[in-house]
């Protein structure tokens, strides 16, 4: 039975009590789609009655939409049952490298839901939203101080959008300065896939810097890329480097590399995905960064929400400040206001409908205030300590491709396990069986079978030790040669391994009647 559509199958199930099988056992519930439930007479909301006013839309009335219809208790049960099929940071260890799955304080949620924040409109008269503008202004200041980059624009909607904002800022700067010959962005091969995608979207060509040898950008490899077409690197507009990088390492030659880049007239875009290793302790502006995005949903604890909403403010050095997107929040005397359209003539423009993911701004500020200068420093130190502890405990069982110490995440590969026909995928799926979310797998691409582990600072030593024990147990099982189990995990989850080939070959992206 591939489809547990209750309405169709319930009758024959009922008639045969001994073989009753609808998938429900104990606390495990199957749940069908909303459209597969009986169509209720009335919806799950009671609305004021209509007066029967004659329509002034000038158009015919909407016919059947095709939506389901169920009562409120059915809706509640439906989504609560679905929720039980999800793993989350509140339920357990979530060492997803480069994603910073840290605790999401509920105070932040409470603050974002205050009437004065949730129920205000983005185009209300300025004098009626001074408190909201103050939140944004304060957040701009906190981010400026933490990054050492004094100009901040909160508008980008997520990390990738922040990248777009950053690279557009660089593009605009070169354009205004007449550097139209600068059309190349340097990107290490270890970079997030969004980096080259963003550069191309902004009309640049990308040139890859190889990091395969040491997991870091070496001065030599950098020079090779910088001077590839032109002896002075005149064609290079900038570089996109994540620091700490996606192998969990700090780019130790960053100062020298940045100096060379600046000499060639290029700007340094830093992908801020890994800021959690530095926050409160090291300021990117002090190692030469010109523009950087910050993932509020990583470093500053706004919830990932199963894939968003994120928020990706950019922090910018004075040299690029005139070109960053608009609007930013300005303070004049004691009054706050948003920049007007076109007020900063050289801005690369508006990137989103309104001024930003304001609800995320409130949450991030609430988190920052809770931690403060002292707490944030402890955040990065604990994050780095936790990752190094895992590295030290697992490096005999798993191949660690690059020399440490690491920053807030540590990288392993499946090199030792592959000899026993156990791959990174198997290791990840076995972790699931043992009640943990896997690390990031098969990324970065610079090593084969990558496993990137980021414990974050919100884990206790006990939690780390349990992860270490499970990982050691998996390594031991692999060495024993009896690996069939490892290929078939997970077994205790609501679903077993899913057929991704089928999903992609015959894309079925929506429910359809009778399909």
């Amino acid at each position: 039975m591939s489809n547990l559509a209750y309405n169709d199958n319930m009758d024959h199930m009922m008639s045969d009590a001994e073989n009753f099988e609808d998938g429900n056992r104990g606390l495990h519930y199957e749940e069908n789609l909303l459209w597969e439930k009986g169509h209720s007479d009335t919806p799950g909301v009671d609305l004021p009655s209509l007066k029967g006013t004659k329509s002034r839309t000038g158009q015919s009335e909407r016919k059947n939409v095709g939506l389901p219809q169920v009562s409120e208790p059915q809706v509640m049960r439906h989504f609560v049952r679905l929720s039980t099929k999800n793993y989350s940071i509140d339920s357990g260890f979530f060492p997803l490298g480069s994603c910073t799955m840290k605790h999401n304080p509920r105070l932040n949620e409470k603050m974002a839901r205050l009437k004065g924040f949730a129920s205000i409109h983005p185009m209300q008269p300025t004098q009626t939203v001074q408190g909201a503008l103050k939140v944004m202004y304060d957040l701009q200041n906190w981010l400026a101080e933490l990054t050492g980059l004094p100009a901040v624009c909160l508008t980008p909607a997520a990390g990738a959008h922040g990248e777009l904002a950053g690279i557009m800022t660089i593009r605009k700067a070169h354009e205004v300065q007449g550097n139209t010959h600068k059309d190349v962005i340097l990107v290490p091969d270890s970079a997030h896939g969004t980096n080259p995608a963003t550069a191309v979207m902004c009309g640049f060509k990308t040139r890859t810097i190889s990091t395969k040898e040491t997991g870091r950008v070496s001065v030599e490899a950098f020079k090779e890329a910088l001077y590839k077409q032109d002896p002075e690197g005149k064609d290079v507009a900038g570089m996109m480097v994540t620091n700490p990088n996606t192998c969990g390492l700090f780019e130790r030659d960053i100062q020298e590399i940045t100096d060379l880049l600046h000499d060639a007239g290029g700007y340094f875009y830093c992908d801020g995905a890994n800021f959690n290793a530095l926050v409160g302790k090291i300021r990117p502006g002090d190692f030469g960064v010109d523009v950087m995005h910050i993932n509020l949903h990583k470093t500053f604890s706004t919830p990932h929400g199963g894939g968003g909403p994120g928020s990706g403010p950019i922090c910018v050095a004075p040299s690029l400040q005139d070109y960053m997107p608009s609007p930013v929040v300005l303070k004049e005397g004691t009054a706050y206001r948003l920049e007007e359209e076109g007020e900063r003539e050289t801005s690369c423009g508006r990137l989103r409908g309104f001024q930003g993911q304001f609800g995320m701004h409130v949450r991030a500020l609430s988190y920052m205030m809770s931690h403060g200068a002292d707490g944030l420093k402890q955040v990065s130190e604990d994050a780095v300590l936790n990752a190094n502890y895992i590295l030290s405990q697992l490096k005999d069982d798993y191949h660690a491709p690059f020399e440490g110490p690491c920053m807030h995440e540590c990288l392993f590969t499946d090199k030792y396990q592959k000899e026993y026909d156990v791959t990174t995928l198997d290791i990840a799926k076995t972790l699931i069986e043992y009640g943990m979310h896997p690390m990031t797998v098969y990324f970065p691409l610079v090593v084969s079978g990558a496993m990137l582990v980021e414990p974050t600072e919100t884990e206790s030593k006990d939690a780390l030790d349990r992860f270490i024990s499970v990982m050691k147990m998996i390594a031991k099982k692999a060495r024993s040669g009896d690996v069939t189990e490892l290929h078939n995990y997970p077994k205790s989850t609501p679903r077993h391994r899913l057929d991704e080939v089928k999903a992609a070959r015959e894309p079925k992206l929506r429910w359809k009647k009778g399909a």
Partner: protein
Amino acid sequence: MRYLPQTKKGRSEMLEAIDVSSVDALYSDVPKSAFVKGKVNLPDHMGELEVERMLGAYANENHAAPDGPFFLGAGTYYHHVPASVDHIIQRSEFLTAYTPYQPEIAQGTLQAIYEFQTMVAQVTGQDVANSSLYDGATAMAEAALMAMRVTRRKKVVLGNKTHPHYEDVLKSYFENFRGEATIEGPQDIDDQTACVIIQSPDFYGSPENYQIWREKCDAVGALLVVVTNEILSLGLLPAPEEADIVCGEAQSIGLPMSFGGPHLGFFACREKYIRQMPGRLCGETVDASGRRGFVLTLNTREQHIRREKATSNICTNQGLCALAFTVHMALLGEDGFKHLAKLNHEKACELSDTLENAGFKVENETFFNEFVVELPKNSNEIVSTLAEKGIIAGLALEDNKLLVSATEMTAQEDIQTFCETLKEVCA
């Protein structure tokens, strides 16, 4: 330090296990000059109570929609959100989950996305929808980029009055083409046009006739993109089945206005274009035991794999916002969705009648829940004056015009107060 579980003892045991003397030794690769001396220049940590007091005071400085009569729309709308919606989206399992890359332990999120995609496709009259985009403005920009990929053409036509911010975003994105791609008006539709973008209802609130635009597009082989920033209008207006892409803003269902975000971009299109579509997609499949399950699919279009050849640089969707939409739509159901749309229209009719009875001229012949009214004085000043009287009047436009909207939140007394006060200040 309430969010940090490590203990002094634990820290020192771990340092010993790593075989370093201090945490700073782990930062040996960082240049000395980059370290902050002591602490950053910010306040130290605060307790929950202190944070609440401070942010609570900030919140109280704002005039919120429930504080008085409210008539502002223009791309963000003040609607009621049922209590169950907020409860569901605050459940840990949804709130604190990651993007569902491990489908065995993310079926909840995945099935909800599948339901979201189905609802958006149904509401827009399209074949398929993605799992959401940042907001309406970026969704419109992505639609333009997609049309350019599909047609291999580089001209985008704005057929009618779209939201000015949406237009600005499109212009910003297009600057990346360094003049090689252009944005034109309706007089410039020709065989180089990738798509014609129509907002409906348009920025001034008037619903569009799609058939006329479909014919114009067919004549030159361009795609028709329909944008709506009030998705609720599709409960009353016919589905834009003529379009190749329908996208826009869905904040109206399930989400507070929240000073402009997070909101919910939606994106739907014809089946033949799915591989050109931006954003994440969830698809149905089976698991190793043959049971129905859901996965993220067609990932190869995305930047993780295609890198510089990706369809878009977008990584996240607005996951939790899409969930809020899905829960609210589930509660509304077929009848409730249409009823709510009609209710909005009736409120707008009431507002229009009352304004006209008070002697103001309503410009729109047709509208859904928003329209333009002409004032005898500068509308910017009037908006400001009314704000001082606790009324959020609408959006001031050029030529003494005001864009006003009514929703199910608009009480009859609000309309009365608004019209009377408006008459006073215009006198």
